[in-house]
């Protein structure tokens, strides 16, 4: 069964484009990545699924039920973590979480304590005393405290330090093991690669491709930037797997995918002043991937 299914989902904000004809199906029990640059329509899609905004045309179902018509019923089983979290500032963390829990037909007290312990969250502080990262933790606990069957994450990792990101991923992983379906939106390819089974790539409001992560991994691009003591002929880097090659005086940059040893050997043979190997930005991947 598909947990989420959208059919030609379209949203215009007045005349400006939100999303156009988005067709997605997220299967039960998978972690589905949703990736695209900022402003591509990830949040618009998610907000429509949550009935925060209404589609211009098309429809979407969650658990087989129309997400607008049965919104309140469906949301019993949805946990949502927005990219930016905002809560009632004057409340204490525990009061906010209790308020959040009061909407669900179950007792979440033990679960709140458990999640707060994992995320190292101080329950007795006031919300407005919290740093951005700590507010995010409140968001995570708030989104997971009712053990939802569907977890929707909209760029969840921003503001979390790497250690907390790891803990957060572990949490999501555990929920997934317990049978939860996850929709994970992000603009960082590496975290989607790490977590997801499949990924939809959205660009300018349209889904341009749905891929298995395993396929994407075969196209595992790395961005190389080198500084050399002396200029070098661009032919030196002409080998399979090198793309977007740019040689300018003493600096060289390119994207590489393929056998990493090949390129390392190549680099070992020349003298370098400096070397950066980075995750390419999505745009850079898109540039090549969809040529």
């Amino acid at each position: 069964m598909n947990v989420i299914e959208t059919k030609n989902l379209t949203k215009y904000y007045g005349k400006s484009r939100g999303i156009i004809d988005v067709n997605l199906s997220v299967e039960q029990g998978e972690i589905f990545g949703f990736i695209g640059p900022n402003g591509a329509g990830k949040s618009t899609t998610i907000r429509t699924l949550l009935a925060l905004i209404y589609p211009t045309s098309g429809s979407a179902t969650i658990f087989g039920k129309d997400c607008i018509k049965f919104g309140p019923e469906i949301k019993q089983e949805i946990g949502y973590l927005p990219s930016e979290v905002f809560y009632y500032d004057h409340m204490r963390v525990i009061d906010l979480l209790k308020y959040s829990a009061s909407f669900y037909n179950k007792d979440c007290t033990a679960r709140i304590k458990e999640l707060a312990a994992v995320m190292e969250l101080d329950l007795h502080k006031k919300i407005d005393e919290l740093s951005f990262g700590n507010k995010k933790k409140v968001g995570i606990v708030q989104g997971l405290l009712h053990e939802p069957k569907l977890i929707i994450l909209d760029e969840p990792t921003s503001g979390l330090d790497p250690l907390m990101q790891q803990k957060f991923f572990d949490l999501i992983h555990t929920e997934h093991q317990k049978g939860a379906t996850v929709l994970f939106s992000s603009h960082i390819l590496s975290e989607v690669q790490r977590l997801c089974d499949r990924v939809a790539i959205i660009k300018e409001g349209k889904i341009i491709r749905v891929e298995k992560i395993s396929t994407l991994k075969e196209n595992n691009y790395k961005k190389f930037s080198l500084e050399l003591p002396a200029p070098i002929a661009s032919q030196y880097f002409q080998l399979r797997g090198v793309n977007n090659l740019l040689v300018k005086d003493n600096t060289v940059s390119f994207l590489f995918s393929g056998d990493i040893n090949l390129i390392i050997n190549k680099l070992a043979a020349i003298k370098l002043n400096n070397l950066f190997i980075e995750e390419p930005s999505l745009e850079e991947i898109f540039l090549h991937y969809y040529e």
């Binding site: 904000y13 209404y54 469906i74 949502y80 930016e84 905002f86 009632y88 308020y99 909407f103």
Partner: protein, 265 residues
């Protein structure tokens, strides 16, 4: 129920401040009554010096100002002004506050219908207004006993006091309607103060001109104290118009809010 209680705690402080302000206003102004009543003739003479237009605009009635109910109906116009601002603030902010503080995403992704959210919020706002009015009524009653030696009609006193709440209901409704009609509200205060003072000034104009159709446009004019004192009743046509306005505006607000896109600010 959870939303209702949460909303109540959100507006606890402002309700307390408004109640105290209104109580203070009533106490200070009614405390002046004995001075007015003692030298009735002298006071009337002084007030006669004001141009008639000004007297009408500020709600001063020469023949009744020195009686307790007349004086009361003069000062309660200002209590009503306070109350109107409170109600309008509440009405405008109960829904828009969530959007402005970006907490709407939290609330609206919970398993609850927008109708329920709205009902809980309206009930919470009504509770705040009722509490304020209880404070107002208590203060007015105590002060009336303290300062008034002559007897006065309890029924008329009650009718006059209750008009504050009735006018507040209209402003609460107006605030809610405005908040669902406007796509984004940056500042509640500028909208609520603007509307309330605009209508208050219209009320002053209406008093000066004696225009009856104008009376339907400003809530301040719906309950004319002179009429209430004379007839011990409200004017039916205005009660009917108020009820119609509230029913239509609140229904429209429910309808619009259920279909409104909640966009990040």
């Amino acid at each position: 129920m959870n939303i209702y209680l949460h909303e109540l705690s959100m507006y606890r402080k402002s309700t307390l401040v408004w109640s105290l302000a209104i109580v203070a206003l009533v106490v200070v102004m009614l405390a002046m009554f004995p001075a007015f009543a003692q030298d009735a003739a002298g006071v009337q003479k002084i007030l006669q010096g004001y141009p008639a237009a000004v007297r009408q605009a500020i709600g001063l009635n020469l023949s009744t100002i020195t009686s307790f109910l007349g004086f009361y109906s003069f000062i309660y116009l200002y209590v009503m002004l306070c109350g109107a601002i409170q109600a309008m603030n509440l009405g405008t902010s109960i829904l828009s506050q969530e959007v402005r503080d970006k907490t709407a995403d939290f609330l609206l992704t919970k398993p609850v219908t927008r109708q329920k959210i709205m009902t809980a919020k309206i009930l919470a706002a009504l509770t705040c207004l009722v509490l304020t009015n209880i404070c107002f009524f208590a203060a007015a009653t105590i002060m009336a006993r303290a300062v008034n030696t002559a007897s006065y009609s309890r029924q008329i006193f009650l009718l006059l006091t209750a008009t504050v709440f009735l006018v507040q209901l209209m402003f609460l409704t107006l605030g809610i309607l405005i908040s669902v009609l406007m796509p984004k509200i940056k500042s509640v205060l500028s909208i609520s103060l603007g509307t309330v003072f605009g209508l208050f000034i219209l009320n002053m104009f209406g008093s000066t001109l004696g225009d009856t159709t104008l009376r339907y446009l400003t809530p301040f004019k719906y309950y004319d104290p002179a009429y209430i004192i004379k007839h011990s009743a409200y004017e039916t046509s205005f009660v009917v118009v108020e009820i119609l306005f509230i029913v239509v505006a609140i229904s429209a607000s429910y309808f619009l809010y259920a279909r409104k896109d909640i966009n990040p600010v």
